[in-house]
């Protein structure tokens, strides 16, 4: 199973690297959103300080929607889903592989975004370890949930609009949790970031389990 997952993840990442969408489109998009939020809040430092974590994660969610959409399209455009079934790859492995690939892309964007909030919003990183762990755990949770929902809308005509409708409410706890944990890591609001990280870990575990269980049913039937 892990071999298959690695195979799928490597394949997706290679496709992503080759198409250069992350580097040439997604990263500039994320940076732009960050700058626009700066304009919208009128470069008001105290407001920006309070809002930085939230803006960071809202941007990540936007990027996640785009990443999941591309990750799903890779399998649907030329009948690869069917070929995966014929090859006999474990659906759970396909799920894990694709989720890992999405997570890697998101983490890349997050590295740039962290640079962005330091430069544009003047954020200071008080607890780098908490910051990094939050990014890792929350991102895996987002990628897992998104990959499952992406398979759910595969082959549906209105999938571009439906995917965010399905993804965003389910990801609400991530937005709440990761934002609070970031508040702590950036020292902007006094909260216990570690307990939020524990909650995020729970979220991520639940959704990985759901994905491993349900991905096969969706691959099989849609």
């Amino acid at each position: 199973m892990l071999t298959d997952a690695r195979l799928v993840a490597a394949k997706d990442l290679r496709i992503e690297l080759r198409s250069r969408v992350t580097v040439s489109q997604v990263v500039p998009f994320a940076g732009l959103v960050l700058v626009l939020f700066g304009f919208a809040l009128d470069a008001n430092r105290p407001t920006l300080d309070l809002a930085t974590s939230g803006l960071f994660w809202v941007t990540v969610l936007f990027v996640a929607i785009m990443a999941v959409q591309r990750s799903t399209a890779v399998e649907t455009t030329d009948g690869a889903r069917r070929a995966l079934l014929l090859a006999g790859v474990e659906p759970g492995a396909v799920f894990i592989g694709k989720a890992v690939a999405v997570a890697v892309q998101l983490l890349t964007v997050e590295v740039v975004l962290v640079g962005g909030i330091v430069v544009f919003y003047g954020a200071s990183i008080e607890e780098p370890f908490l910051l990094a762990s939050t990014c890792l755990v929350a991102t895996i949770g987002i990628a897992a949930t998104g990959t499952l929902l992406g398979a759910l809308v595969a082959g549906v005509r209105a999938r571009e609009t439906v995917l965010p409708i399905l993804m965003l409410p389910v990801l609400a706890p991530v937005l709440l949790g990761a934002t609070r944990a970031f508040d702590d890591a950036l020292g902007s609001v006094a909260v216990n970031g570690w307990s939020w990280l524990a909650m995020l870990t729970g979220f991520t575990a639940i959704n990985i389990a759901l994905g491993v269980l349900a991905y096969g049913v969706l691959l099989e039937e849609t």
Partner: protein, 262 residues
């Protein structure tokens, strides 16, 4: 229960989805609702602090409780569909999701009116139960959106069931996160039912309201179930028609073959 809902003598295309059971349920629900209006407005006393605004409790609280009952049914039905391919449960899950979306919509609506009167604001982000209900509402709107995709119904049932499952599995996390998130600034009163501050006629009216709304919900669920059941019968009719048409096509093909090979 299965028999109650699908008995042939009950479901009859000419007579619609009503039966003796639903007729009496409807009557009891209607009379109960009228009695509730009377009890709620004239019998139950106004609150010391909230004055007449407290009467909102008779709608808001039952709606909120039944929202969770409905969505639990959807979650159970989703699992039963994925696991056992139970069409009966799938139909229940779908109906319960529709009723649940309506009830949660009403919970949010009455909650925000009540909030406006007592807290001076329509929406309070610090309110755990309201925010949790909002997220649940949004997930279930997604559930219904998936149900309405065109294409194979069984496939959509599976898609929707996965959402039902995701929603149910994530509910504890949603609730936990909202609780922590809002703990610094909640306006919502602690559950008044539990701490025993409500008593006498107000408590009685609230319980009465819960029973009345439960009956109304059951009435809706049964009707909704029967509508789905009839729809299914119609589409099965479509299928046997389609099969007949397809086989006629085959017969024409067969005639053509014998003609050519003479």
């Amino acid at each position: 229960m299965t028999k109650l809902m699908t008995d042939d003598t009950i479901i009859d295309r000419q007579r619609g989805t009503g039966s003796r059971t639903t007729f009496w349920l409807g009557v009891v629900g209607l009379v109960g609702a009228i009695a509730l209006v009377f009890l709620g407005f004239f019998v139950a006393p106004p609150d010391d602090f909230q004055k007449d605004a407290v009467r909102m409790i008779f709608i808001h609280v039952p709606m909120a409780i039944l929202t969770y009952v409905a969505f639990s049914l959807t979650a159970i039905g989703s699992v039963a569909w994925l696991w056992k391919r139970s069409i009966w449960w799938d139909t229940v899950a779908h109906g319960a999701a529709e009723v649940g979306v309506m009830f949660s919509g009403l919970t949010l609506f009455t909650g925000s009116i009540w909030g406006r009167i007592t807290w001076g604001t329509y929406w309070d982000w610090g309110d755990v139960r309201l925010v949790t209900t909002l997220i649940l509402f949004l997930i279930m709107v997604g559930y219904l959106a998936v149900r309405s995709f065109d294409g194979d119904e069984a496939v959509n049932a599976t898609r929707a069931a996965v959402i039902g499952l995701i929603g149910a599995a994530n509910m504890p996390v949603v609730n936990r996160s909202v609780t922590w998130w809002s703990s610094r600034r909640t306006l919502h009163q602690k559950s008044s039912l539990v701490n025993g501050k409500i008593e006498g006629l107000t408590l009685f009216t609230l319980m009465f309201a819960l029973v009345v709304f439960s009956i109304i919900m059951l009435w809706m669920l049964i009707h909704r179930f029967r509508i789905s059941w009839l729809e299914r019968q119609v589409s099965e009719g479509d299928l046997s028609e389609a099969l007949t048409a397809r086989r006629a096509e085959a017969r024409a093909g067969m005639d053509r073959e014998t003609e050519e090979n003479k």
